[in-house]
């Protein structure tokens, strides 16, 4: 336990003027320190693979097919109910694909639970942060707006696998 010391003001402090000079000298030192203001939007936000921006859907290597099989796990995991999926069957090598995959960006809170839940590496948080439009409807992103080639998200995917590499010493069930 440490009892905080209540300071009694000395004569100099009660006179106040010398104190103003002392405090101003402390303040004026800030002039010579490096500036910390970022001139956004001229200076962009620094983003890297750690940044959890808006979620995006990955495409397979052929850059046409979505990796998503519309299992609905991200829909269930989403705490903001931002994701809507309608699945359908296809005759491609992946038997299921989303007919409709919408993320309401106005609801999305960028928590990353969808990315964690996805069992097919189909959804990842990109480093795209800026979000503005003129209508609400335009901010409900569909597949066309969400899909990204895998290469664009590769850094995030690698980072995610790195931090997700846990239970190394475990008796794995696999």
């Amino acid at each position: 336990m440490v009892i905080v010391k209540r300071k009694e003001l000395s004569l100099m402090e009660r006179l106040f003027l010398p104190e103003i000079v002392r405090a101003l000298s402390h303040s004026f030192r800030a002039i010579f320190q490096p500036k910390i203001t970022r001139q956004y939007p001229e200076e962009g936000l620094p983003t890297n693979e750690v940044t959890r921006g808006q979620p995006r859907l990955t495409l397979l290597e052929d850059n046409e097919t979505l990796a998503c099989v519309s299992c609905g796990l991200c829909e269930v995991a989403c705490p903001a109910y931002a994701i809507t999926i309608d699945g359908q069957e296809t005759d491609r090598f992946i038997e299921r694909e989303p007919e409709r995959f919408e993320i309401d960006m106005l609801r999305c809170i960028l928590c990353g639970f969808c990315e964690e839940a996805c069992p097919k590496d189909a959804i990842f948080m990109s480093d795209e942060l800026e979000l503005a439009d003129f209508t609400r409807a335009a901010l409900v992103y569909d597949i066309d707006k969400l899909k990204r080639p895998k290469a664009a998200l590769q850094k995030r995917i690698d980072y995610f696998y790195k931090v997700n590499d846990r239970w190394r010493k475990s008796s794995s069930t696999s």
Partner: protein
């Protein structure tokens, strides 16, 4: 125990009329809900007799979002982002409080390194929250440069959290059974650099405020609360310690391994706004100490796990989900239907505002029956009439600032 005698009593007609030129004509003043000094949407109804306040009555509920009820329909794991938004100046602290309650309910043991990371995050969050207190209270009392000084330091913390979690606020990086990711060496270095420079910054704050006559006159002997009153009104945290009671949950009921850390509990003597300020400044120093110790331990436990291995509650690693059918089944089970055992648990943690408690009740299904949040801010708001009645109106700003509450948590 004898019944508590409250200092608070409504003003008597004699007191109201004593020096009032217009007999009995009180001015009804509604301070807030959009007043900048109320730190959020708090409305305070005041009857003013000249400059003297009577019948002070705080009115809460303007930021009520039904968080507790939301939890009941959302499920255990999905409530984590909502806890971020309770006391939004220290999201990780709320995450950890909620996670600790769930872990107590389910009997989950967090790995050692996970606990160390949590302690580190909690102490850094505490510093950030106290910086907000200091900056906003100072600007309310007229010290504009203090606001910028505090927010400059806080900005450093947020940059570090950004580098660690990917978000500046509302981090959501704590999971049942630990934390989502390990603190890597880069973040560790940033934290060490910040913490080494921080005591000097605190000295700078003290240069500006502690001996400052304006700060001194406006805080000293304003809003005095006696130890008995503080206890009776269920104040916790720096407000209680400022009144002279050395109660700190980190010492009284240690969690997350706080018993292994070397730190002191800061205690005031008088219980006025000035004491509460001094206690918080000292707590920032102590938090720096704890965080430094946690950093040293992180170095010792490098390579350890931060998430417990328990397939009932924790998502398996992605690598295994992609390769093993068994793990894929666990992935589906946990995401869609995370069940906690039947029972109830309460866990309180020492947040920057006081005892932040989560009381969770489970009937064994995937939806909570009840999740009560004991928000320290609500109790701090309750004490406003006690501290402000029959005082001058200009003291109100100092009292509100020194009680330090965040309305997101009060109204929840």
């Amino acid at each position: 125990m004898s019944p508590q005698t409250f200092e608070y009593r409504p003003s008597t007609p004699e007191e109201i009329e004593s020096d009032d030129p217009v007999h009995g004509e009180l001015m009804h003043l509604s301070m807030g809900p959009q007043h900048p000094a109320t730190h959020g949407v708090l409305r305070i109804l005041i009857d003013l007799d000249g400059e003297t306040m009577h019948n002070v009555e705080p009115e809460v509920g303007y930021l009520h979002r039904g968080k507790e009820k939301t939890c009941e329909s959302l499920g255990w794991a999905k409530f984590f982002p909502h806890t971020d938004r309770l006391d939004y100046v220290q999201p990780l602290m709320n995450n950890i409080g909620y996670a600790l309650a769930l872990e107590k309910l389910a009997g989950i043991v967090v790995p050692e390194r996970g606990q160390i990371v949590r302690v580190l995050l909690m102490e850094v969050s505490r510093i950030a929250a106290h910086l907000i207190y200091l900056g906003t209270t100072a600007i309310d009392l007229g010290a504009v440069s203090m606001f910028f000084n505090c927010f400059k330091e806080r900005e450093k913390i947020y940059s570090i959290l950004d580098a660690y979690t990917g978000h500046r606020m509302n981090n959501t990086y704590v999971r049942i059974g630990g934390v989502f990711a390990d603190v890597d060496e880069g973040v560790e270095g940033m934290l060490r650099e910040f913490l080494e420079g921080f005591p000097a910054a605190v000295d700078g704050f003290e240069t500006m405020l502690t001996g400052n006559r304006i700060w001194y006159d406006r805080n000293r002997d304003v809003g005095i609360i006696t130890p008995d009153d503080a206890r009776a009104w269920a104040l916790t945290g720096p407000n209680l310690r400022g009144a002279g009671i050395a109660h700190d949950l980190r010492k009284a009921e240690p969690y997350s391994g706080y018993e292994d850390y070397d730190f002191e509990v800061a205690v005031g003597t008088v219980g006025d706004c000035y004491d509460r300020y001094l206690v918080r400044v000292e707590e920032m120093r102590q938090s720096t100490r704890i965080a430094m110790q946690a950093l040293d331990r992180l170095r010792e436990t490098r390579g350890g796990e931060v998430l417990t291995e328990d397939r009932r509650y924790v998502l398996p690693p992605k690598e295994k989900v992609m390769t093993s059918m068994e793990e894929l089944i666990f992935q589906f089970k946990i995401v869609t239907d995370l069940r906690l055992p039947k029972g109830e648990a309460y866990q309180g943690i020492e947040s920057s505002k006081g005892e932040l408690g989560f009381f969770v009740v489970s009937d064994g299904s995937s939806m909570p029956v009840r999740c009560h949040i004991r928000a320290p801010g609500l109790y701090n708001v309750q004490a406003i009439p006690l501290l402000a009645n029959r005082r001058l109106f200009s003291d109100m700003v100092a009292i509100i600032g020194s009680l330090d509450f965040v309305m997101g948590e009060v109204d929840r």
